[in-house]
Structure formats: C-alpha cells, structure tokens
Symmetry: C2
Subunit: 395 residues, 2 copies
C-alpha cells in the first residue's frame, strides 16, 4: 500500500460535500458523505453512558449493517437534549434521505459541539437543501471541525485480489469540549468488497490499539464515533478472513486508524508536542496498553514534557499506579536516552536531554521485564494554552 | 467534640520537634513525633506498585501494631532508590532509636520529595542528633511540607468514657511531585485508649470517604502514607466496637481525616478554589463516590471552574463516563443554582451564576435518581499556575 493525495470521496463510488448552515458564525458546519450504492457500514461509539441522540440512532444502523450516507454537523452536539433531540436526529436523517432519494435508515447522523442545546432545525433543513452530489469533497474535512486547528485526513491505495483498492479517512477531535465540543469523530471510506460482519470485527479489533490509545484530557465524550463504509466498487473478490487479501486490508485500515488517531493527539487542545509512549515487557498486550495510556494521560508527565523537563520519576510513578504485577526491573528511555536501568537511576546529561525534549515528537519507551506484552499510546503536552482554551466562558 | 488550638503533640504523652537538616536550602526538613509510651499504630499506604523504601518499612511496623516514634524528612522521597534506599531507611530508623533510646522497630520512617535520589545520610544523621524532646512541636507541621503553601493541622478535644481525649492531625500534600514531590503524608496522634486492630479497622474505613476522595491531579504518589498513633494516656476505659464511646471516637477521627483531606485539596498546586462534589441518588455509596471523584478530577471541569464558567455539560459527561447504570434522570446544581432537571436543561442566569462561581468554595451537587447511595469528593481548579509549577525543570 502507499499513501496518496485525495479526499474522503477518492474511493470509487463515493461523493462528499459540505456547506455553511449558519450553525457556526462563518465556517463550514454541515457535511455529507454519499455512496452510490449501499455500503457495508461498521461503527464503534463512545462508552459514555450519557450518549448523544445521533449515537443512539447510528447504533441501529450498524445493527442493520448497511448505509448510503453520513450527515454530520459541527457546533452543536445534540447531547443531553432529551426526546426533542432524538426527534431532531430522526428529522435530519429524513431530510437527507428525501434530498438524495435514499431510504431513511440508510443515513447515519453525527453531531459534535455544545452539549445541552437543541439543533436549529430550520438551519439544518436549509443547509441540507444546499448539499449537492456535485459538491467539493475536500470541504467535508473542514465542516466537522470544532476546536481543531487543522483538518485531519489520510488516503491510501493498495492492490487487493488484483484490483486497486482505495481507502480514505477523515476525523476531528481536539479536546472533549470547548465549550462542550465533542471529542472525536472519524469517518473512513473504502471501495473494497468486504462483508459487514468482518468489517465490524476488524474495526473493533483495530480500535483497541489506535483510537482507544489516544488521550488529550482523559475525558470520554458523549459523541465519540468511528464509522467505516465499504461499498465494494473496487470490484475485488470478496475479502475473506484469514486470506492474504484480508491481511493487507487489515493493515490498510490499521494504518488509517493509527494515522488519524495520532493526528488527533498532535492537535490536542493547546498542544505543542506529540507524545508517543511505548511499553514493552508487560505480562500481556492489554497491560502494556493500559500502562502506556496512563503515562501519556498523566497531567504531571504532560506538564513535564511541556517544560522539556526530563522528570522521569513521574513516568515511573504512573507505571506503578496501574501495574497489577511487580515492577521492580524497569528500563526507561526518553528520546532514546537511557535514564533508568534495572530500576536504578542512570546518570545522564540533563541539559542535553532537555534540549532533545524540545522536539515536537517525544518518545518514551519503558521496558518492564515482565513478559512479552507490548503497547503504545499517544497524547500531547499540557500547556498554558490548554487552560486558557478550557477556562473561557460558554456564556 | 470541639476544635481547639494545639499541635501534633497536644494529646497527652506526645512530643514533637523539627530541625533544618540542610536537605532543603533553608526551611525545616526533618521532624519527629514521639510518644512517651508505645502507642497503637495504624496506617494506610499508597497503592502505587512503585512504592518508596520507607513505605516498605512502615508496613512491617503496622503489622506489628505498635510504635513510639515517627521520623519524617521532606525534599527527598527515597523512592526508586533500590537496595541502597531501603538500607538508608533502616539506618534512619536505627539512628532515631539510638538517639531516643527506643527499640528500632518502634520507629516509623516517612519521606517526601524528589524521586530517584538517595538520602544524604550524613545530613540526616546530623539532623537527628539535633532533634530534642524539649523541641518545638509546632515546627513539625512545617518540616514535612514540599510545594504546599501552608501548614495543615487540626486539633480536636472530646470526652470519652468520662475522660478528656485529644486528637491532633497534621498533613502535607499539594500535587504529586514538584519536582517529584510525593503527594500526601498525614500523621494523627491521640491519647485515646483503643486497641490496634480496631484503630486500624476504623482508619481503613474512614480513608475511603476522606483521603481517598481527594484529587489534585489524578496521580497516586509512591509515598502516600497516613499514620495514626493512639497511646492511651487519656486513661479512658478501652474503646470497644459498637459502644457510644466508639461512635464518638470514630466521629473525631473522621472529622480529622476529612478536615486534613479538604485542606490538601484546597492547597492543590496552583489552586484558587476548593471544589466539593456531592453525588446523591446513586445505586450505592461506592458508585456515588466514584462518580464524585471523576467529576472533581476532570481537567475539563477543573478548568471551567477556574474560568468561573457554568459549563455543566462537562459535569454530565463525567458522570456518564463512570456510571455503570442508566443515568437518564439527572438533577444538577452549581452553587445551589439548578441547571439541569430530569436531565433537561434549565434556563438560568449565566452572568449571575458566573459571579457565584468566583467564590473560593465551589459546590456541585448531582442527584441521579437511581437509589440511595451518596458520596462526596474534593479537589481544586486547574490553573495557569499548575502548568507553570509542573513544567519547571527538575535539573
């Protein structure tokens, strides 16, 4: 596979557009992805017990397993909006179905933005009438942004079963809320031919090591959603589990998920640095991932990285907080410099290491010498800007 | 019971002192608490798998159940210091035993400060020689501080079994580390007559609703320790479980624990406000406590409070993240103002509420309408100052 330029509509048989529906003051805020034919659709959603109305709706679509459109608005999350909120999500779905002559239950709905505010349905309705199959697909990535400072996209091309297969991903996510902006939405399209149950199984697996391993502020939003549509228009032979075709497909989907996840972490609210934590030598992969995520989510580690401070004690303390096994033989490297060996402090040049910690990508690698489990997690530093962004008034 | 003025040595038969052992540049950094007779000693310790050398030592003393002294240094945590660190803790214990003619295993040892640095044993030894039974007991509260901005003490007096009983508490704790300062140490003395097993049982229970319900930055240090010494010098009849005497003793110990815990939260690194979260209507108390702690620990809630922002969506989202039951009927009050009723947003005067959120004590009360469980948690706001304190160089 290789990375190429493109949009969410680069895979065959997909279209996309976005408009300004006046939910935001001036930026694009309503986008649609369309497939010319019904596509297999897989999805994973927030585990937050308080989930937004569109999440309730989309769960049913995933159960059914096919869809032809995704409509997404930013600025308003349609969460904690009660019965009216669910009716508004249904109405949005209905309007999109009418506009593009689709069955209503083939339209997935996503929202991100302020919690506790109802969608202005007249604006939504007017916006939907302006969406067009002849629209600009690259606009979609802009329309879903909230506090994000940049669009986040990736396009891959691979050959599966002798056919060129395309995959595209776009996502948003910066902090959970500002004011109350929902964290993370990701949309992935592919023209690969794969059955929905296998697509769902693969996505569910890959989420664990990608999107679920990023943290900006430790909060899980009410709206988190990842949707994958596969419409089969590459006309490859159906991808079956266990085949070499499947391995390649899974690698492509994994690459897209990981790339988008890292882009969210790097664009975390107020972030100046991307932090990648790798944990080796844990009893199993799950333990390694939990520890990696604890380290990258620690406010103390995050502030130390912001200050380019080789303050490794905070990392070791984070490990100890979530380890359920003995951690008495730790090796720790910061930016490839060894600071702890067999759990004994190593003398290092702290001025030199501080300089290396000023780079934009920070690597923390811990080896726990307790097994073969490995895991990674991604996050960002905690800065004055984060506090500033999140202390501003909603009102 | 009533609150009185006093020191950690106000309960009968206790003495205390502190000196400058040159671990810090100029402030007091080494203190001792002595009981004239062996006291029942109870303790709870950090759950961090990477725990400091003195914690290992003190766990054995608690098993034995009696002690006559506590020696505590600040500035250096003696954590992640390997075999040498444990030997230094033992040596400290031995020096204090010799100085005050005690059995070595009657001396508990505590440290708080930088992780990964060995104690300078010559300075410790010299410091110990300067400690005196004729010393100033009020110095002790100063000697254990790290990034704390003030001493934290409380004294209570009550009548148990016809005798005046005194109880005193002192603690330190501000953030986990700066640079790498260990969070939380608390020492409680009482002249009450109570057997060690009941003292331990009572402390273990009370910890759950007091010290374990505070959070400054979500990190559990390598050194957290709470020790209670009861030396029986009030000469009251032994306090037995189930008696009215016991209820009063438990109320006193609970008051001391809660008071010290709140003082730590209010003095959190960079804090400008104490936040108290009360959760009612959970299925059980444990669920209520977990939810309260999640709310008070959320960076998004903490920054909103710093900004006096009535951003209630963040609170609801926090509830949803840890609730394992349906939360579809929530009532929420901020500073006594209703903002959500039956999970439906209530129109409120946001300018007025923002003003009320500028107070130094913030109350958040959530009723989940799912049972009779209640719980509280305490924390502080997340400020520019927190980032500044924690981004500074260790080196």
């Amino acid at each position: 596979m290789k990375e190429i330029k493109g949009t969410i509509a680069t895979p065959k048989g997909f279209l996309a557009d976005a408009v300004h529906a006046q939910l935001k003051y001036k930026n694009l805020d309503l986008g649609v992805i369309l497939s010319e034919v019904p596509a297999a659709i897989a999805g994973v959603f927030t585990t937050n017990k308080v989930c937004a109305a569109p999440v309730l709706l989309d769960r049913k679509i995933i159960q059914k397993g096919s869809a032809q459109a995704i409509i997404c608005n930013s600025a308003i999350a349609n969460a904690v909006t009660g019965k009216q909120g669910f009716e508004n999500a249904l109405k949005t779905q209905q309007l999109v179905a009418e506009k593009f002559q689709l069955k209503q239950d083939e339209v997935a709905v996503c929202s991100t933005g302020v919690i506790g505010v109802q969608l202005p349905m007249e604006k939504i309705a007017t916006g939907i009438t302006k969406l067009s199959k002849a629209g600009q697909a690259e606009y979609f990535a802009q329309a879903i942004l909230t506090t994000d400072t940049k669009t986040k996209t990736i396009n891959l091309e691979g050959e599966i079963g002798g056919k060129k297969v395309n995959m595209a991903g776009v996502c948003k996510g910066s902090g959970m809320i500002h004011p109350n902006m929902a964290t993370m939405l990701a949309f992935i399209t592919t023209d690969a031919n794969i059955a929905q149950p296998l697509l769902q199984k693969t996505l569910t697996q890959l989420i664990e090591t990608t999107f679920n391993q990023i943290t900006v502020d430790g909060d899980t939003s009410t709206n988190d959603t990842v949707l994958v549509m596969a419409n089969g228009q590459a006309k490859n032979k159906e991808i079956l589990e266990g085949s070499s075709d499947y391995l390649l497909f899974k690698a492509m989907l994994g690459k897209v998920c990981q790339d988008l996840a890292q882009k969210i972490a790097a664009d975390g609210e107020g972030a100046t640095k991307l932090i990648e934590v790798t944990v080796n030598g844990a009893p199993d992969d799950l333990a390694a991932r939990m520890i990696a995520k604890k380290i990258v989510g620690s406010s103390l580690v995050k502030t130390a990285i912001f200050g380019s401070d080789p303050n490794w004690g905070r990392i070791i303390s984070s490990i100890g907080q979530v380890a359920t096994f003995e951690v008495s033989d730790i090796q720790l490297k910061l930016q490839d410099e060894l600071v702890l060996y067999h759990s004994t402090p190593v003398t290092f040049d702290s001025v030199f290491l501080s300089e290396k910690l000023k780079e934009q990508k920070i690597n923390i690698v811990a080896d726990l010498n307790s097994g073969t489990g490995t895991g990674q997690a991604w996050g960002c530093d905690l800065t004055y800007k984060y506090v500033e962004i999140n202390a501003l008034y909603t009102s």
